[in-house]
Amino acid sequence: MDVRMMLATARRVLSQLRHDHRSIAMILVVPALLLTAVYFLYENETLPPGMPRTFDRVGLMMLAIFPFVVMFLVTSITMLRERTSGTLERLLTTPVHKADLLFGYGIAFSLMAALQSLVATAMAYWVFGLDIAGAPGYVVLIAVINAVLGVALGLFCSAFARTEFQAVQFMPVVVVPQILLCGLFVARDRMNDVLEAISNVLPLTFSVDALQEIAAHAEATERLWQDAGIMAAISLGVLILAALTLRRRTA
C-alpha cells in the first residue's frame, strides 16, 4: 500500500468525473427528483392517528438505495473502460499496488456519494419534513457505506463484462434482487422462508435494518453499529475479491 498512489488515483478518478458535468448533475440531482416523486406518490394517503407516513419509511430507504445503485453503475462502467482502454494493463506494469487502485476508486466515489446523500437527505428533511427519531448524520453515514458497497460490487462485476452493454446487465442480476428483498416492498418477517433466508445474507438488507434502527431510536443503538460493521466488512471482502480479478499477467 502506498497512500500517495492511492490518493493520486482518487484524485484522478474525481478529475475524470469533474470534466463530465452531465454525470455530476445526474448524480446530485436525480435522487432528489425521485425522492420528490415518492413524496407526491403518498401525498394523499389517509393515515390513522399516530401512524407514521409511508414517505417516512420508503423515502428513508430510498436514501440508502440511491447511492448503492448509482455508484454500482458508475463504477462498473468506469472500471470496464479502464480495462478495455489499456490504461489498466499499463497501470499494472507500474509499481502501483492493486489495493491502491481499488481503494483510490473507493475514496473518490464515496466522496461523490457523500455529496449525493447530503443533497438528498437535506431535501428529505427540510423540504419534505422527513420525520424520524435519529439524527440525519447517521442516515448519511449509512448512505456512504452503501455507496462503498456499490463501488466494491461494481469493481468486482466489471471483471465479468466484456462490454459496457454487458456491464449494465449486471444491474438486474446484482442490484434488483437486493432492492426487492431488502424489506422495502414487503417486511422481511412476512416473506416466505426461502426469500427471507436469501434476504438475510444480502448486503442491502443490513443497511435497511440500520435505517430502521435510526428511524426508531434517537440515539445510535448497538444494532445500528452492528449493521454498519457488517456492511463495511462485506464491502471490504468484495473489494478484496475485486483485487483478485486484476491480473498483472495474462496467461
Binding site: M5, T9, R12, H19, D20, G86, T87, T93, R248
Partner: protein, 278 residues
C-alpha cells in the same frame, strides 16, 4: 580486447544484457504465438522489433514488461526474470493504441502516471516538453489528434525515466518531422544509457535502430544490424531486403529446418550465433 571477451560471456549468461531470452515460448490458449526465441539485447541501445502484423511483436513486448505469462523458456530483463515486481520501477511500456485517459488533460495524464513512480512536477513538465506537447498541456486528451494522443501516451512512460523503454509502434500516425524528432529523442536516451525496444512495421524506421530482431509467425528469423539486413537481403531498400529474407526462409521451410543465421556482431567483433531455432 578483454572487454569484448568479458561482455560476450556476460551476455551469454544473461547478466549484462538488458534483455535475454532463451527458448522463450508463449502460448495464448493452446495457440503457440512465440516459438522458442533466443536472443540477447545489449543495454543502452535501440533495438528494432520488426515483422508483419500478427508476427508476435506485441506478445513479445508484453512478455518483456511482465504483462504476459511465458509458457516455457526463460526471459531475463535487466538481470531479473521478466515480471519481477522490482522491474516495474525500471521498465516503461507504451502500448500500441494510446492508453491514456481521454477525459483528463495532458498534464493530468502525465501527472498521474508520474505519481505511480513518485515523480513530481518537474518530471511531468520535462516529459511533456520532450514529446513537444508543452503548449497543449491543459488540453483534454480527447480533443487531441491521433498522433498527439500517441505522444501523450509516450510522455506517460517517459515521466518515469525507465532504464528500459518498450515502445509498441510509437510512430504510427506521426508526420515525418515529428517522427524524426522522436527518433532523435530515442537516440539521445540511448546515449544516456536507456535501453529501447521499438516495434515497427515500417521498414524505413529499421535504419534508425542499432540492432534488429526480425520476427515472422512467432519465430525469430534473424538478429542483425540494418547494414547486415541490406547485405543479406541484397538490397539497400530494407523493405526489399526483409522480403528477400522471408522468401529465402520460405524456401527453407518444408525442406529442412531453417539454417542458423550467423552474423557478425558490429561492436564486439566476435561472431555470435543468432537466429531462429526450432
Amino acid at each position: 580486447m578483454s572487454h569484448s571477451a568479458a561482455s560476450l560471456t556476460m551476455t551469454r549468461s544473461g547478466g549484462d544484457a538488458a534483455i535475454a531470452a532463451a527458448a522463450l515460448t508463449v502460448k495464448l490458449g493452446r495457440q503457440p504465438v512465440l516459438h522458442a526465441l533466443d536472443f540477447t539485447l545489449p543495454p543502452g541501445r535501440i533495438t528494432g522489433l520488426l515483422g508483419p502484423s500478427g508476427s508476435g511483436k506485441t506478445t513479445l513486448m508484453r512478455a518483456i514488461v511482465g504483462a504476459q505469462r511465458i509458457s516455457a523458456g526463460t526471459l531475463t530483463v535487466l538481470g531479473l526474470p521478466a515480471g519481477t515486481p522490482s522491474l516495474r520501477r525500471q521498465v516503461g511500456y507504451v502500448t500500441q493504441s494510446p492508453s491514456v485517459y481521454p477525459d483528463l488533460t495532458v498534464q493530468a495524464n502525465v501527472r498521474y502516471f508520474g505519481a505511480m513512480h513518485r515523480k513530481g512536477k518537474a518530471d511531468v513538465a520535462e516529459a511533456i516538453a520532450a514529446v513537444g506537447l508543452g503548449p497543449l498541456g491543459r488540453r483534454k486528451a480527447a480533443d487531441l489528434s491521433g498522433g498527439q494522443l500517441n505522444r501523450v501516451s509516450l510522455a506517460c512512460a517517459l515521466v518515469a525515466h525507465p532504464r528500459l523503454l518498450v515502445l509498441d509502434e510509437p510512430t504510427v500516425g506521426l508526420d515525418p518531422v515529428l517522427r524524426a524528432d522522436l527518433w532523435d529523442r530515442f537516440r539521445a536516451m540511448a546515449e544516456a544509457g536507456t535501453t529501447l525496444l521499438v516495434s515497427s512495421h515500417v521498414m524505413e524506421e529499421a535504419s534508425r535502430c542499432e540492432t534488429l530482431l526480425l520476427l515472422r509467425e512467432g519465430r525469430l528469423l534473424s538478429q542483425l544490424t540494418p547494414a547486415e539486413l541490406s547485405q543479406r537481403g541484397h538490397s539497400s531498400n530494407l523493405e526489399q531486403a526483409f522480403l528477400a529474407i522471408i522468401r529465402e526462409q520460405e524456401a527453407y521451410d518444408g525442406v529442412s529446418p531453417p539454417a542458423q543465421a550467423s552474423t557478425r556482431s558490429r561492436d564486439t567483433g566476435v561472431t555470435k550465433q543468432h537466429g531462429s531455432v526450432r
